[in-house]
């Protein structure tokens, strides 16, 4: 068993408005000289530390936990799960 850091990013599905991201873009970033930026999306990240046999199992286990406990609301959010060595 090894220890992994698993990052769970929860964000709105495409097409669902993210007024916080839009405000950061329009009222902060684009008010400066950063016209190359076209989009900012806010998200919530949960960082899990987990003991598992490999990266794949760590990812699967964390995804199962997220689904079982409804860590995200599937009506409106999607999750991305990234695994890193501890």
């Amino acid at each position: 068993m090894a220890t992994f850091n698993v990052h769970v990013t929860i964000e709105n599905k495409p097409g669902i408005s993210d007024p916080e991201g839009e405000t950061i873009l329009n009222d902060l970033v684009l008010k400066g000289t950063h016209s190359a930026i076209s989009k900012i999306k806010t998200a919530k990240m949960l960082k899990f530390t987990i003991k598992e046999k490999d990266k794949k199992s760590a990812q699967t286990r964390v995804k199962e936990i997220c689904d079982e406990l409804r860590i995200y609301n599937p009506m409106v959010s999607k999750v991305t799960i990234d695994v890193f060595d501890s």
Partner: protein, 226 residues
């Protein structure tokens, strides 16, 4: 006849709700702490507003896993009237008893103001004394009150007559101006506005009668004469 008012860590409208049920409508109500079960002789259940678990993760997401929710689900299946107000609505959604999601208001502000509702379904246990399309002056007080459903679910809600209340104006960016919905059977109702803050003339500057009809509908449903 007994009505259960469920109290979660962080509920803060439980006493207002209890006051309206007992002092205004002379009902037998009892508080139930979230980590225990509900007795079998409960005739209706109300999940009050507040900030259960400090809205951690997102509104209602943690309270939806409280032990008492298992009994709430059993009662929902039996057809017992269940009302979630504000955070109570968010908890019912997160527990899967009602469809959708409640997102941050488009304004990103906590909104505390008077608005009005339009009754879209007067067949539920909490709306049967109201007239269809009746206007209800009522306050809202929420930060995550923007009700969201995808197009497919919205169609289903319309088809099954599950939209119970709409705002009379654009308030917070809710899908189709939805302020309250019910489950397919109609016995579980969730709403963001606060009828318990509008049912008495002393605290309602406009007209307390429509809001009090929400409670009178419940009296009517469970067979209590007021």
């Amino acid at each position: 006849m007994k009505i259960g008012v469920i109290v979660f860590p962080g509920s803060n409208c439980d006493r207002d709700m209890y006051h309206v049920l007992t002092d205004v409508f002379k009902l037998d109500a009892e508080y139930f702490w979230h980590d225990k079960g509900l007795p079998k002789n409960i005739d209706a259940v109300i999940l009050p507003g507040g900030f259960s678990y400090g809205d951690r993760l997102r509104s209602g997401a943690i309270a939806a896993h409280s032990p008492i929710i298992k009994d709430v689900k059993k009662m929902a299946e039996k057809g017992i009237p269940i009302l979630g107000v504000c955070n109570g609505f968010q908890i019912l959604v997160e527990a899967g008893l009602l469809p959708g999601a409640l997102l941050k208001n488009t304004s990103l502000n906590f909104m505390c103001k008077w608005t009005s509702l339009i009754v879209e379904n007067n067949k539920t246990p909490f709306t049967n004394k109201l007239k269809l399309h009746q206007k209800i002056p009522i306050p809202i007080a929420n930060g995550e009150g923007r009700y969201y459903v995808d197009d497919e679910t919205l169609k289903k809600l319309k088809k099954n007559n599950q939209i119970v209340f709409r705002y009379s104006e654009v308030v917070n960016g809710s899908s189709d101006r939805i302020a309250g919905v019910c489950n397919e059977d109609g016995n579980v109702v969730g709403m963001m506005p606060h009828p318990e803050r509008a049912a008495e003339s002393e605290i309602n500057p406009i007209d307390n009668k429509p809001s009090s009809l929400i409670f009178e509908s419940l009296l009517n449903t469970i067979g209590v004469k007021n």
